[in-house]
Amino acid sequence: MPQEVTAGAAAPKKYRPNIGAPRTPANEEPAAERARDFRPVDTGYTKADAVAEANRCLDCKKPLCMEGCPVGVHIPRFLEQIRDEDWAGALETVKGDNLLPSVCGRVCPQENQCEGKCVLGRKGEPVAIGQLERFVGDMAPEVGKAPACKPKNGKKVAVVGSGPSGIACAGELAREGFDVTVFEAFFTGGGVLTYGIPEFRLPKDIVKREIDGLEQLGVHFEYNAVVGQLYSPEDFFDEMGFDALYLAVGAGLPRFLNVPGENLPGVYTANEFLTRSNLMHAYEFPAYDTPIRHGKSVVVFGGGNVAMDAARTALRLGADKVTLAYRRTEAEMPARRAEIHHAKEEGVEFLELVAPIEFTAGEDGFVNAIRLQQCELGEPDDSGRRRPVPIEGAEIEIPCDVAITAIGTKANPFATTASGVEANKWGYIDTDEDGRTSDPRVWAGGDIVTGAATVILAMGAGKKAAASIKKTLLAEE
């Protein structure tokens, strides 16, 4: 008998994908209801959904999905573990490459990454890898084990910024036995995950869970610490005895349209609008003290995720009409497909091929309209996308009492000049592949190196820098 059992266990397991099964739909709250409050839009897969969806995977010999993942998460393996209902194993697999699965599962542009490469997507719908990653990440409170930390190695590292890149670097180093302190300018951690991405897309308790996890690893957090102003680079090395510094300050400076009327009251940058709502809880005014203008008719300018977030926040603050104006067409919008889909479903109206001319003010001094130049698509530009060309004489005016510009961000010179490392001519910090800057004690990564990019790339950079810091500092022994 025992022999038979052994033989049975050793026999190769036959996996038969559920070919032809449709993609397991997301569990989304009804659009009309959810567009009026800040509850999560998508409640996530159930265990049964997850297993069903993982069963669609063809388990390709050469998994293209992994090639599409910027950090190379072992997707077929964690999907197999989901099928086996080995939740803890699946979590461990994902976390081996991606420290923030609950976050990335929600905010990665999967259609350009893992899911974009999925073979199933050629003829039908790709496996919902993002949903599965999120599902596995969200299982952490239930099945996650606190990762073991190596004994303290006596080396101290300062991480500046507590966004995805700083979190990743701090987490990796803490596990390796480094004494890590994260310096954050705001009163709470998470960076763009906290001030930028709204509650309905990324609940803040998830961000908090990640920060708490780091604290459990022994990472110290110093909030309200504006590096450069409160601490100079020399303070870190000479006074506080840090051996290395990782700069992950992001690229938070808003770009402007540079058209007349942009400084009128009622015209917001998306950064301000979202920071008020997300970080300062202005949507809960007056229970929270920070106010925000609740527009009845809102125009958002831009076509990225931030524009979608701003438009959908405006809806939830009670707007009757939200128009998303974009200079190209929907096909060229850089936002995740899911965000575009959700925004439309919730009632955001899309206005394509328009360029802003000016914001005008009403008698009360507040913005009352945006004047737009209508365009058509012309020849492709350097990026390969067809350039919008103005149609002479075709102008429209949209009345609005709140206007929000969401046309991207750039490096914040305040954060870089303060670091002691010289920025390049665009204001970003140059590094090698491992995140090393020109100062041998300083590494940098995330948006301050690459320009505004994705959470997963920022996180990957933090991880790479951590490996390089470890190698460098421990080699000194």
């Binding site: 300018a185 705001f186 009163f187 001030y195 909030y223 309200n224 504006v226 102003q229 409160l230 601490y231 938070g252 400076l253 808003p254 402007f256 942009e262 400084n263 009128l264 009251p265 009622g266 940058t269 950064n271 301000e272 920071t275 008020r276 300062m280 809880h281 005014f285 007056p286 229970a287 929270y288 003290d289 920070t290 106010p291 203008r293 001094g365 507040f366 914040n412 010179p413 305040f414 954060a415």
Partner: protein
């Protein structure tokens, strides 16, 4: 948490807090500011440093009770803590020697005072013009009097103290006498605007310390943007001091008024809370 180690009341509505903040005390410079979040639900409000002591590890700021945050602050006492204090932020005030006139209007006097004091310390010849609507709104008069000033001029709109009128009257005379090399002004927008016009007329350089609404204070949100010399500047990181003759004052005034309705609503909400027995501390 940031503990209040001293509280001084200058008048009915004006207070000074001394806060234990050793690292901030090491770095603070005149003209820079800090941001306060009173409690978990509080908003972030900027205050200019009034003083600091690097050895004893404290910083001070002066505030006048105007809205909800300042009301809540005024109710705190020595030993209590402020949830968050961030700073130093912004650029320090550029100070030189020579003959300076410092103008403070209303609450702006709380910012004008440390600037005047610092200029005196650095050996400049300093005159001060204090302005307010009425006598009761003049703050820090005794503190200004204690400084080694060349002259102290007081104006009130209603003539209840000093000269009846506005700060530009003594400013105009001082400039006409050729007694001023540089002017520093802080106060309500109209006061700064007309001080700038007066200085421009006499070709005297004038710096104004601007007080737009801020959220992050680190150059990220753009809430405090102001047009200076035709360019958009952020008061939090490029300022708060700017060449007053280059500032678009109408723009600033309009932006400052953005939340007037909500500010009143917040105060109402506070009073409701205070009236409700379950909220009474």
């Amino acid at each position: 948490m940031y503990q209040i180690i001293d509280k001084e009341q200058y008048s009915e509505k004006v207070f000074k807090f001394r806060i234990h903040a050793p690292q901030m005390a090491k770095k603070a410079q005149a003209g820079q500011f800090l941001m306060v979040r009173v409690d978990e639900t509080g908003e972030r409000v900027p205050f200019t440093f009034a003083d600091w002591n690097r050895e004893e590890g404290w910083i001070e700021f002066i505030f006048m009770v105007i809205g909800k945050t300042t009301t809540l602050l005024s109710q705190l006492n020595v030993g209590d803590c402020i949830k968050d204090v961030t700073g130093p932020l912004g650029q320090p005030t550029e100070m030189g020697s020579g003959r300076w006139t410092v103008i403070g209007g209303g609450v702006g006097l709380a910012i004008a005072y440390p600037v005047a004091r610092e200029l005196c310390r650095r050996g400049a010849e300093v005159s001060v013009i204090m302005g307010a609507r009425t006598k009761d709104l003049l703050i820090l008069t005794d503190q200004f009097r204690e400084l080694p000033l060349k002259g102290l001029y007081i104006t009130t709109d209603d003539g209840s103290e000093g000269e009846k009128g506005v700060v530009t009257q003594p400013l105009d005379r001082l400039c006409a006498d050729g007694a001023v090399d540089h002017v520093f002004a802080v106060g309500p927008v109209p006061m700064m605007k007309f001080s700038a016009l007066t200085c421009e007329k006499h070709n005297v350089p004038i710096t104004a310390s601007l007080n737009p609404i801020m959220v992050d204070g680190t150059g990220m949100c753009g809430c405090c943007r102001v047009e200076v010399g035709g360019k958009t500047k952020f008061a939090c990181v490029d300022g708060p001091d700017f060449d007053a003759t280059q500032v678009d004052w109408n723009d600033l005034a309009a932006r400052q008024a953005t939340y007037r309705t909500q500010e009143a609503e917040a105060m109402e909400h506070l009073h409701e809370e205070e009236d409700c027995p379950c909220h009474r501390k």
